[in-house]
């Protein structure tokens, strides 16, 4: 490869705080993969799931400022590692293109700030999609120095990387993270709840609602013998990791499953140290799970689909 691929990079607010491990490893791994991520100058919040219910036009305009700033950079693709940011950027880009009235209004708002955006000028991508599609599994495999053999991971996609519909990916049973983890040498368990919801902002609003959703996902991953859950979204990581002790307290369970970002595992496989891969920033310690790397290769986990006890039904 003669020249590294250029991308405008939108980290999002979480990446500067709760998910700094994701941001740092995403940048590090991208560099190793020869992807050039150029952070959007002076980007603002995407509005998460809050702005849309207060004012739709303000929500779209807030996001469109980022699209406008990104479009002035030398890139055709805008990449975000956060699924919620990715959704908001993608939805604004798509809806402005699809609904001319919305486009007019958003651009009228942007004009008050002296900027504009032509919908479709950028392609909005998730970092995982960029790694899988633009770099590819072969190039990733070529960089693996320390295969993750011996460790079994449950690939957790959550909602917004595949829904609403994204071209090329199944909305309920995607497999690209599975394949990426296999490429790193990790054992990948079957994980029926891979695209179920982590509860999103509900942890702040109704613990009863949110903790049940988190419990189902942890229960399912534990049932299928995962040593760790690997995720690609700051919100999913936060909910499954930081609230795991409270979920255990609410349901009388004893889950102890570390939640890692896929870029942390890529980093480790590419030879980064635990420190460099930001291991230790998680609330549920990952050391025991990572200690399995290099041990006996995992036995094939037979799908337990017909085992009724394995179904993640609510506790009666």
């Amino acid at each position: 490869m003669s020249q590294s691929r250029q991308y405008a990079y939108y980290p999002g607010c979480s990446m500067r705080a709760t998910a700094h491990a994701y941001d740092r490893t995403a940048r590090r791994v991208s560099e190793m993969l020869d992807l050039s991520l150029q952070e959007i100058e002076d980007w603002n919040c995407c509005g998460a799931t809050e702005y849309m219910s207060i004012s739709a036009l303000q929500a779209y305009s807030l996001v469109a400022r980022n699209l406008s700033l990104a479009a002035t950079q030398n890139a055709t693709d805008l990449v975000s590692p956060c699924s919620a940011c990715y959704l908001n950027l993608r939805k604004t880009n798509d809806n402005m293109k699809k609904y001319p009235d919305l486009n007019d209004q958003v651009n009228q708002a942007l004009a008050a700030g002296g900027i504009s955006y032509t919908p479709g000028a950028l392609r909005v991508r998730h970092l995982l999609d960029v790694i899988v599609e633009d770099v590819g599994f072969d190039a990733v495999a070529a960089l693996v120095k320390q295969p993750l053999k011996g460790m079994k991971v449950a690939p957790y996609y959550g909602c917004l990387i595949v829904r609403p519909s994204v071209d090329g990916y199944d909305t309920e049973y995607p497999t690209h993270l599975d394949k990426l983890m296999q490429t790193l040498g990790a054992g990948v368990v079957d994980f029926p709840l891979k695209t179920h919801c982590c509860g999103g902002h509900m942890t702040q609003i109704s613990e009863e609602t949110a903790f049940e959703l988190i419990r189902r996902i942890l229960h399912n991953a534990a049932d299928y013998g995962a040593d760790a859950i690997v995720t690609l979204c700051p919100m999913c990581q936060l909910n499954l990791d930081a609230y795991q002790p409270q979920v255990n307290a609410m349901f009388g369970t004893r889950f102890n499953i570390p939640i890692l970002f896929f870029t942390q595992l890529m980093g480790l496989a590419f030879g980064l140290t635990f420190d460099e891969a930001e291991i230790g920033s998680e609330i549920i310690p990952a050391l025991a799970a990572l200690g399995k790397i290099g041990q006996e290769s995992p036995e094939q986990v037979a799908p337990k689909r017909r085992d009724k006890k394995a179904l993640p039904m609510p506790i009666p």
Binding site: N44, M52, S55, L62, Q108, R163
Partner: protein, 194 residues
């Protein structure tokens, strides 16, 4: 139109305010949305029922329902709907109208969204520490005790910043948001029945 009661003000408004909202008229009442909803058990009406109520002109009941407030924005309903109704977006629209008319459900967490937005409008970015402390102090003061331990751990691990992280060009963002608000309230004044 097959709907029989009410004057359908809310239905018309919901269709107009939701991109792709016209599909609401094609609802088959199949129930795939409710069956797919992870938080459906906490809702007083499933999305299917809420759409039926909306089409029947039960405006007050729809606006005071807790359903939109328990939506977790997972989009399962939207991708599974055989009629491509943007159900998740409809929930956002209904929340917005309920807030505007002051008719929202008592379980609604309007305060959380408002606190979040307040920080974004002030700094251009979200501020998790401020949000967690302010929202919990005003809404769940007793829960703060249990949360303090987690907050401390998060801070120790560098995962929670004690100060906000403002953008540089706030005047530009403020001007954009003010103009968006002006356009939207102008549009709404035209949509509302006299």
């Amino acid at each position: 139109m097959a709907d029989s009661i009410g004057n359908h003000d809310l239905l018309q408004r919901a269709i107009a305010s939701t991109p792709g909202g016209q599909a609401l008229m094609e609802c088959l009442q199949c129930g795939t949305c409710g069956g797919s909803c992870p938080s459906g058990q906490d809702m007083d009406a499933t999305p299917r029922k809420l759409i039926a109520m909306l089409r029947a002109g039960m405006d007050d009941e729809v606006l005071s329902s807790n359903t939109p407030w328990y939506c977790v924005s997972c989009y399962y309903c939207a991708v599974r709907c055989p009629q491509q109704i943007p159900i998740t977006d409809l929930m956002y629209t209904l929340k917005h109208i309920a807030i505007e008319r002051g008719q929202y459900n008592k379980e609604a967490h309007v305060g959380f969204s408002e606190s979040f937005i307040d920080y974004v409008e002030r700094y251009g970015r979200s501020f998790e520490f401020g949000l967690a402390t302010r929202y919990n102090l005003t809404h769940h003061p007793f829960r703060m005790v249990g949360k303090a331990g987690l907050g401390f751990q998060m801070m120790q691990k560098g995962r929670l910043n004690a100060t906000p992280d403002p953008i540089k060009d706030m005047p530009q963002l403020t001007a954009i948001l003010a103009e968006a608000r002006r356009i939207e309230s102008h549009e709404e004044a035209q949509d509302e029945p006299v």
